[in-house]
Structures are given as structure tokens and as C-alpha cells.
Symmetry: D2
Subunit: 309 residues, 4 copies
């Protein structure tokens, strides 16, 4: 990593992208969601990730998100921008655009159309890191990219200048455990967990934080869990884990898989008045009956937020 | 389908995209490749597909390919353009751009980042077909898109206006057999096979043609196979099949999977002077020793083309 | 292969095992089913395969099936016995038992519990072939065994003495096409297709027959299809294929996957009075409403058999 | 659960089966291994599991293992016997045999040849539990059985009399987390973890122990880890985890996947004089060079056992 790179750790919510229609960013909602999340005590903010539906957005909307987020976050927490794309140039241009707006780091997963070999993968990441004006966090999400970052590739890329951290959304704790083992002596190379259901155990085992989608809605809960896990407070971890699992069940489990998570979180956020539940194509908002189920479940969950709808 | 839609059948090569560097289209090579392919007697041409590395190209290069191909094909055969993208707007804009240049139809696979449900899929395709100024050929390629077009979705989408055909690259003949059964009474709804190794049997069983990557190199071989299969000349089919399988083995099997096919075909084309073997990132050309293996294999194959390098 | 080995080809039905209760073989039904199948003109008979629920049967019942089948077939057609097991000794003992009763060949798939490497697989098959008193037909069925016989392993095993043929139930025509290419010059090494929906194309492309489950019910249909494909009569193939696909849809598609095929075939056979639909655990017969659906569908199919129930 | 059922928890090693040749049990080694394992302070012993190569053994050898183990353990710790089989009768007979020898419980995974539906699965387990003379621990190992015990099935089976616990070898902590949530209020229904690399975190999150293969070699290490995790001593957990991961890397990672674990553990045990490394077919012992690598690695690991070979 470079000297200028931020030392990331803790809860870094992958922000949803509030939309009012196709390619219509909701600026006011964007500000509102940012304030809501930062107000929950999170350690950084990540826009244009999978939860932000980034690949479904037009280039213009992606840039609007970066510009507006950078201005509104205004240095309160580090800001990360997802620049994953199937086109190398588009990724690089978005990184350059982000640099112009003072973003702190970019997050990069493998290009996600053509499957390719690990040799191409390591070369791709190394080339990108060399050309990128911002530090790069690697992102492993084989459910979306098909290509996984192998443990050998991860080991090699960890030593590449300008690559400063790793987010893993594989959900595979055997893999994650190997990453922890690899970075045991690397205080400057943080590891982040994707699925929020695995936040606690990943931190208990030596990970450095989580990119928890649920933190769009209840940021403080995930911050509290992170703190409990860092402190090794297993009893508190168990209690909070039950709440986190109930959120997953009651909000993400309503819509049909495999996109019930994305639709559920946005629907729940619409019920508490944070934003609309408009989804970018190919997704569509939940049907009315499922919207109502989410509302009912939200009340049941008794989260520390007000359900307004 | 609409009255204006072309009735597609036969061999529709998925054209490679000749590049000289990152985002540098090789215009002269493009013309050369087009003439080479059409000279082989193919029935139509398909640009910006998976073999054309379309998702890896910048929007500008994609448009150059469309414009230049449309001008150079100049109506000699129907021209199809792949418009698959994770962004609905980008797909639609490329379709509109294609319509402006007189393209005959577009080919559309599911958006390929976020996995989603069949309900979203059918809605996505139906909405796109309604807005698209050109007829739409559906494209099923679960190895790249993760989401497969289910048989139920295919049945539903077949009746949607402006959807005029189906290309399947699943490699699953049980699935393809069901498609054939479904379209038995639909002379106006052609079915195309992706993997060229399955061209013969798919046509023997009732399919309507193939999108054969090898036809970039030896178009006449695949045309001959198509004709043999249509004629039910099983003896000739067997003989040609051995040649097609040897091409796959000797050219696509040299580079490491899973991209050995793409690299092999472009490398072979460079050896016969059709274009450079520059690949769009994240792919990279074959190493020198593998390039030489391809050259040696090309000579062994004794294809009806001159190896110049 | 050895001189004594039978030259297998054509339709070799995988016989169901008629049961009246747990570990209770229905001897009369066994005879009836054998006569029914042989009466349809099939080329050989295969007992104790996957369709015969062999791994679910006790060793005693397996032996009863071998003994009774051998006596009742009585040389009318070659008899093959599946001896696949996770225990090498149990496989060998069943092969020896089969040899004592004049069986013609055994069929052997990989042991199906622990996943293992291809080196162990080739060694396993070669050792077994050397010790086995009967010729061995290899059986590839990765959906059940997890371990697939790789193409390299298949190539190696083809030359092992006492291995005389190959049955593939992978459903992967790219794989099967490679097997055909490999055995092009081997008239003495037949290739058989598992899924009956792929019988026609596999024979059209050069395969040697099929192990069609539906031939338990309508043996003559599959024999007719085999003959049509051998003759290259594509028009007749298309017509018969529609019937074969309808059988799959109407009889195998009623029960929940993945065992709808097994339950459907046995249920249909019970409706025509061939045997009971009792299944070996862990399977259970179809529920009453599904039994009735099968009966209705059977009548609709207008097969050349009488529905008695 | 029944009143008579043992309350299981802690480390329950899946004992390897010491063999001297095909179907030749090494009785002296069996005693030695049992003493070695119990001497390490484990909480129970599990014979005839996957690590014990049970499905590859003949029925006679399986019975010898039960009889000899029961006699030699002699009540020092609870004894569990794996009775998983594709034949219901064989499973039940082994359970009855085990009951006759005073075994404490049986462990049962789904039958592992034919894939089947969850309805058949729950019915299978419930029927078996009702007929089985011993308490039943459910065992989920989709890598070997293909069929997974779904969360809904697990929830249903948890309430079935005579089913007293659950061992999960899926390696999927999202799944395991749900099991923990389900059994939160069930002190009498313990959950065990298969892969030893996940022992610590599963116990930290609320699980009740592990079936650790490495405990054949160094039982005390896994007992220590279990104690550390129960105590919430995260610092000690981290230190022990590094050792457990190094064992996996240095001993299980030498042989080719997917059976490197089984071969490595038995090879290591042969180097410390506990037993021969003879494997049951289809597996074969490691080659000489890999045997030497294991020996070298064993010395490097500096485990609290003497390497004698």
C-alpha cells in the first residue's frame, strides 16, 4: 500500500442507490441516506457496489452518485467507490472521475462476463492498480463474477503496490480463514466480510470489518456488532447475531431469491422514508403484497428506526 | 415476430473484433474479416457477441464496430448486433444506434451481473422488445450470464412481439431438444446453436442453424456441415464432424481454459493474416510458445486457408 | 475386449426392480416385465442399474434379481448386471455371483461416496477389470457418482483388457461427441447413451445405442427410434422424438425432481399391470393425486400398451 | 430426544479405520488409535464415518470395527457409529448390531446414490429414527451425499423423537448459523461442525463441538481449541487456529484433491506408528515422494507426538 492510503477497518456500508425512475437518481434521498448511515457511527461509506446496483446504472448516473456522495460526505468518513466493469476503460475512467472528487479508494471485482484464467486475473488487477490514481480494494464475489480470486492470486496481489485491502463476499469461511492466515503479519492490509451474517465470526477470527447491506437501514446495529466482536464479547455477539439473522429472514427472505436481499433492503428503506424502492432494471420492486409483508415484518423487528409508511 | 423481420437460418458467425491495442479497433482488418466470412457462404453475420469480446469494449469501440460493419457488409447478408449489457439504457442506446445504420436485428442475453428471478427476466426481455427499434433474438448463455432462460420463460417469450428467434449456448441438448419441441409448429421462430461441436446434431434434430466461432476462420466448413445436416447426409456429417472436433482440439484447447477458445481463434486468425491477436482486457494474447503451437496445429489441420505467418 | 465378450449394440433397457415391500422382490412381476421388454425387440437387458434402484436393495435382493433374471431371460438376449457399489468386495462378489448364473457382462460406475482423483479412478477400474470374471462396461453418471470419468481416463481405460464398452449418462453431448471421436476406429468398443431424450442424436452422430428407461414401458418405441437413427431416417426420427419427449414430460415430469423419472416410470408400469409401484427407500411411491395424473397422462399418450388400472 | 440419550458435546473424532489390506482390519492398530485419541481428552468417539472410509468397507469389516471398538472403548467415552448406507436394511442392521454391543448413538447421513426430494428425506429419517434401537445424530455432508438436509427439513427433524443432534460438514457457515439460531432454545440438541478449520468459529457462535479428523493425530489440540472457544478466549483461539490451519495445509494439502485429506491423515498416522496407511478402494495410499513430504512436514509442524518412521 502507499503512504497516502487510508487505513480502513470496521463497518463500511455498501450504499443503495436511491432512484425515482430509469436512470433517475434521487439526489435528496441520496443525501438523506448518507446522513442516516453516517449518523449510525459507521467507519466508511462504499457507493456503487453490488448493493448499489452499480452495473445496472448508466455511466451518467454512476458519475452523479460519485459527485453527489463526495460532496455530501464531505470527509466525514472515508468514501469508497466501486468501479468494477467489464470494460477496463470504463473502470479506469470512473476511478479517475472519483479521484477528481476526492474519493479515498476504489473497490474492484473481476470483470464479470467472460470467464478467464487466474493468470489473466492477476495481470488485470496489477495493471489496473498501476494505472489507477486511487488505492484499490480487491473484491471477491464469485456469485456475481463467476471468476473467484484464488488464494494463490490473493497472496500475489497482496504485495502489489496500491492494492490496500480485500473484501470477500464468497460466504466461504474456509476461504476467508485462509485470507486471515495469510495476512496475519500484515497490519496494513485489512480484510472485509461481505455477508453480514458472517460479520461477527469473521471479526472474532481476526478479520477487520464488514460491508454490511443492512447498515443502510440500521447502521448502528452493525457498528455495535463490530465493536462486540473486536472486544471478544461473545455473549453480546450472540444476542446481536440473533437480531442480524432476523433482519435477514424478515426483510431479505420475502422476495424471491436470488435478489430478495436487494429488493428487501430497498423496500424496507422506503417504508422508513429514506428513499423510493424503485429498482434499476433488470430488477423490479416487490409486488404490493410483499411490500406489505416487509412493512409488517419491519414493525415486528422493532428496529431503532421509525416506520413511516 | 413482425413482418419486417428477416427470416434467419443457417450459419451466423459471431465475428471476432480485430484490435490493435486497448480500445483501438483495426478498421482494415474488420473489413478483411467480414469479406473472408461472407466469402465462405455464410447466411448472416453477428457482431459484438461473446466471441466479439463486446462487454470488454468501450461504448465508442462498440459503435465503431456497428457503423463500420454495417457499411462494409452493405446488405450482402443480414447483420445482427449483440446489445447485451448490464445497463438497460446502454443496451437500448446501442440498439437505436444499430437501427440508424440499417442493422437487421439485435441479439440480447440476460444482464450478467446481479443474479435475478425468471419473473424479472421475462419482464426485462418483454420491455426491451417493446422499446427496441429492431427485432430481438434471445440469447441463452448461462456460463457467462449465470441466469439461464428457463424453458417456461422461453415458451412465454416466444409469443412476445418483436422477439424473432433464440440462440442457445448452454451446450445442454436436453434443453435444446425441449426448445425444438416447443417451436415445432413455429416456422417463423428459428433456433440457433452456440457450440459448433453441437451444430450438426442440433440441425439433424430440427434446429435452424449455428453461431459457430470457427466460422471466423473457416466459414465454408460450417456452411458445408449445415447443408449436410439439413440434407440428412449422416455419412458426410460424420466426416465433417471429425474436422470440426479437431479444430476445437487443436486451436481452442491450447490456451488455458476457460478462455482458450477466444484466444485460440484470434491467434489462428493472426497466423493467416486476417487480424492481430490483441485481446481486450481482462484477456491477454497467448504466450509465444502457445502461439507457435497454434501455428503448428494450423498447418496440421490442413484447412482451406493459407497460413502466412 | 476379450474374444468371448458379446458385441453389444442397440437398445438395452435398464430394468426396474419390481418390489412388493421393503426387500421383497416380486418374482412374478419380474418375469412379466422381462417378457414385456424382450417382446419389444430390444437388443439386451440390463438389471440392477440406477433405474433398478440397485444401491437401495439389500445384497440378498440383488442376488435374487440376478438369479431370477438369468433364468427367465434364458439366453434370449444378452444380460448385463450392474455391480456398482462403494465396497470393492461387494462389487466383485456380485460379479462373481453373476458369472455363476451365466450373465454376459457387468456394468460398473465409480464408487459413489467419497470423491476421488482420476488416478484412483483409472486404477480402480483397471484392477476390477483384471479381477472380474465377466467383461466390464464402464458407466459414467456424474449426477449420481459425483466423480466423472474424464476424457483422458476414458481414453486410457478403453485399452484395458476386459473393458468392452461405455455407457454415458452425463447428458453432455460435448463429452459424448469426444467419446465418439475417440472410438471412431474401434468397432469393438460400443458407446451407449443414458438419457433417452438423447438416444436419436447420439446414434445419428455415431453412437451405438441407448439404455432407455422408457423401454421398460414401451420397448418397441425405442427400438424403432434406434433403427430410424441407424438408417439416417431423419424425418422418422423427428416424429418419434416428439413421442419420446412427450413420455418424459407426461410421465417423468409429474413427481417432484430429482426422482420424478424413477417414480413416474414405476407408477406407469403399475397402471398397465406390469408391477407394483413400491419404491425402495429412500424413495416412496407417488401420492394418490399424482398417481391419477400419471394414469390420465398415460391414456393421453396413446401408447401401444393397455392401461389396466 | 429420549431420556436415555447421551448429551453429546465437545470433540468427537471421526476415527480412521486401520487396515492392513483389502477388507483386513488391523485390530492391534485399532486399539492403539482408540487409546491415543481417548488419551487426548476427547469427549466421545465416532467410528465408521467418512474419515473411517465406512462405505468402502465390507459389511463384515464394519461389524468388526463396531465390536472391537465397543469392547476397547469400554465406556470410557460415548461411542457413536456411522450407519449411513444406500440400503435402508443395511443401515438398520448395523444400528441393531451396534445396539447389541452397547454403542451410545448412531450417525446417519442421507442415502448417497439416487438424488431425491426433501419430502423423501424427512420421511426416511423419521422412519429410521422410529425403527432404530439407538438415538440418531443427523449428518449433513452434501459434498458426499449430494442431497443436503434443507433448513426446513432440519427444523422438522429436530422435533422427531430419537433424533438427538446434528453434524454439519457442509462447510457453509451461513447454513450453520441458521442451525444455531434454530436450536437457540434447545439445550438438548447439540450441533457439531465437520471441517476442523471451522471448529473455533462455530463454537464461538454457539455450536457445541466438532468432529475433527485431525484429532486422530493430535486429539489434545482440538480439545484445547474447543475449551478456548467455549471460554471465549479469542487470543488463544487465534493462536491455535494458526496451528490447525497449518496441519490442514501441511498434511491434507499434499495428496491430490479431493481425497488429500483422507490420505494425508492416514499417512501421517503411519509415520507416528499408529497404523498403516493402507486405504480402502477406490483410494490408494500416497506415492512414496508424497509420503516423504508428509513426513518432512510432520517434523516441521512440531506436534506433541513422536514421528517414528
Amino acid at each position: 500500500m502507499t503512504d497516502a492510503a487510508p487505513l480502513l477497518q470496521g463497518i463500511i456500508p455498501p450504499m443503495i442507490t436511491p432512484l425515482t425512475g430509469r436512470d433517475q437518481l434521487d439526489h435528496a434521498a441520496l443525501d438523506r441516506v448518507i446522513d442516516h448511515i453516517i449518523g449510525g457511527g459507521v467507519h466508511a461509506l462504499f457507493v456503487l457496489g453490488s448493493t448499489g446496483e452499480a452495473p445496472s446504472l448508466s455511466t451518467d448516473v454512476q458519475r452523479e452518485v460519485v459527485e453527489r456522495s463526495a460532496k455530501h460526505v464531505n470527509g466525514r468518513v472515508p468514501l469508497l467507490v466501486g468501479v468494477t466493469d467489464t470494460s477496463y476503460s470504463r473502470s479506469l475512467e470512473l476511478a479517475q472521475f472519483s479521484a477528481d472528487y476526492g474519493v479515498d479508494a476504489v473497490v474492484l471485482a473481476p470483470p464479470y462476463y467472460t470467464p478467464f484464467h487466474q493468470d489473466d486475473l492477476t495481470r488485470y488487477f496489477a495493471e489496473f492498480a498501476a494505472e489507477c490514481p486511487l488505492p484499490v480494494v480487491l473484491y471477491n464475489i464469485p456469485s456475481h463474477c463467476k471468476v473467484s480470486i484464488s488464494l494463490d492470486s490473493a497472496r500475489e496481489l497482496m504485495d502489489v503496490p496500491n492494492i490496500i485491502g480485500f473484501k470477500d463476499s464468497s460466504g466461504d469461511m474456509l476461504y476467508y480463514g485462509q485470507l486471515i492466515k495469510m495476512t496475519e503479519e500484515r497490519d496494513d492490509f485489512p480484510l472485509f466480510m461481505g455477508p453480514e451474517q458472517l460479520l461477527a465470526e469473521s471479526v472474532l477470527m481476526g478479520g477487520n470489518g464488514g460491508v454490511c447491506g443492512g447498515a443502510n437501514l440500521v447502521p448502528s446495529l452493525y457498528v455495535e456488532m463490530y465493536d462486540a466482536a473486536v472486544a471478544g464479547d461473545v455473549r453480546l455477539v450472540h444476542r446481536l447475531q440473533q437480531r442480524i439473522l432476523r433482519i435477514a429472514e424478515k426483510l431479505y427472505g420475502v422476495g424471491d431469491p436470488p435478489s430478495g436481499y436487494l429488493k428487501g433492503i430497498k423496500c424496507a428503506m422506503s417504508h422508513v422514508g429514506l428513499c423510493s424502492d424503485h429498482m434499476a432494471e433488470p430488477l423490479h420492486r416487490l409486488t404490493d403484497d410483499k411490500r406489505q409483508t416487509i412493512e409488517r415484518n419491519l414493525r415486528e423487528l422493532e428496529l431503532p428506526i421509525e416506520v413511516t409508511s
